[in-house]
Subunit: 218 residues, 3 copies
């Protein structure tokens, strides 16, 4: 099994931070969609835990961590309460939420890749599951809210690419046998900074070449 | 393993009743969405078995009961036939369908919680999976039909809360070591009655405080 | 374990062909929805591998083949590149894509049924999972793209029925102990030809009887 990114306590705290910020984004979307408080809680839980749940089911780590760690389950409920009572204030600090979300993206793509490899998957599959861990919750959130997943939309700043880079860095470190808290942290930091830069400079990915002019712009 | 809610035969019959009424709601939505008979069958199967399928995959009970019990599989097909041929009549007795659906909700939140605990999950996780068993099929139904899940909408009568209460009662009974057919039945009955009352008096859950007036009402 | 449909190499090649054509359909929908290149890759992967992933999770074959076979993972990326650079040309040969998609449908309903039975499921469940393997990826594709799954729509040519017929033929062959490369191939061919005929003659499935005239036509 590869080394822990950090000491178990630090790792767990970082996981909870990532879960919290992802849950905030789910609860905020629920408010925007006019859902009630239970809808907020469901979207918060799904956004925060959905990616890891998918990873754990795929690698056979059942019951998934989302259902065995009480902190993982309660953190999104706490995020729901925060948004429920402080919604306008949370919206006002949307920029801060995005920064934390970027941090969650970086942490989850690294921990997801590491865990998948620890369960015996090959490097490519591990990196893919690291990506799925990082972005899966957001996709489920958007599907449940009946929106086109923002991950897929061309008019959103790059989100998958930073996670792909972070997950690939971890896979390369494993391949070269240099995975350590330092290199893992560097991978998470790279994904984090890339996402911040993508938001700052509105980096977009290209769409298919030679799309005919009749394609409807959305 | 906790005791059966009822004798195996009675329990199985109750399961099939719950599956049947959930399947009816799926097939009816398919008719409203103008799907063909295969779409009706798919929505009926997904609505009836989706919640339990999710639970079984999460707790590692594979292959899930939905695929090992022929009765579980055939009941939604029978419900599809009923709706196919008697659609206007089924719509007319919509009120009765809702009552049966409430019964299914009560039964599934209890049996889901019990089964999850039997597979070694902690009490909180068991109750959460009980809730997921009861409401998961309906969420999948709405996602496949490309609708906002009615579970999440604030303008629908309380649906999750009765299931949460029932699942929590079961978890408390397990914790106090008083789970028996009697207490299990009481939990299912409580969820059932709460759901009926929620429909009768149009109980709604609150939305976030201080939503700005610019939020679009849907 | 039932016999292989063909020699392992031939079977693997056929799988990759099926994955490729399903991926093409996912990438094309992504272009139509105006997604960027990463959205195209996600839809291509999901369409090509989603059905088999669902089957493997349900039968407990984890990690699923989608994550252990590098060719399964890379083929949809190759399909994405093809659509990215040659999109108008691929659209022009849409008819050919449909023919290949029909071939994928035939192959996947047979291989899905066979694999599910090999993992101990009964014949009905195996055929159902064969169907799910064949059509599941397309349903996930449409859900992620926020469209009503074309599988469920009455105004689309029959898609599930050919797969049901093919999967049922395999189940009957297993039951009669006559499953062989020949009979398997015959089942795949039957599903393939039925799908081609359904497209050629616009076979549709009926909707519920006596739908009231107030039902909105979509």
């Amino acid at each position: 099994m590869p080394p822990e990114l950090f000491s178990p306590t630090v790792q767990h705290t970082l996981d909870l931070v990532g879960i919290f910020v992802f849950a905030i984004s789910g609860a905020l979307l629920a408010v925007r969609k006019n859902f009630d408080v239970f809808g907020m809680a469901v979207l918060a839980e799904v956004t925060a835990l959905g990616g890891g749940l998918f990873r754990d089911v795929v690698i056979g780590a059942v019951p998934p961590a989302a259902f065995t760690d009480l902190g993982y389950f309660l953190t999104p409920l706490f995020a729901t309460l925060v948004v429920f009572f402080l919604h306008p204030h949370v919206e006002r600090i949307q920029r801060a939420v995005y920064v934390f979300d970027a941090a969650g993206l970086g942490l989850f793509c690294v921990s997801g890749t590491t865990k998948a490899y620890a369960y015996g998957l090959n490097l490519t599959a591990s990196a893919t599951l690291g990506l799925a861990t990082a972005v899966g919750g957001g996709v489920l959130r958007d599907v449940l809210a009946n929106e086109v997943p923002s991950l897929l939309r061309w008019d959103r700043d790059l989100y998958a690419v930073p996670a792909i880079v972070g997950a690939t860095m971890v896979a390369l470190c494993i391949d070269q046998d240099v995975l350590s808290p330092l290199t893992s942290g560097l991978a998470a930091l790279t994904a984090f900074v890339l996402r911040l830069l993508a938001m700052r400079y509105h980096w977009r990915a290209p769409r298919a070449w030679n799309r005919r002019s009749t394609v409807r712009e959305e």
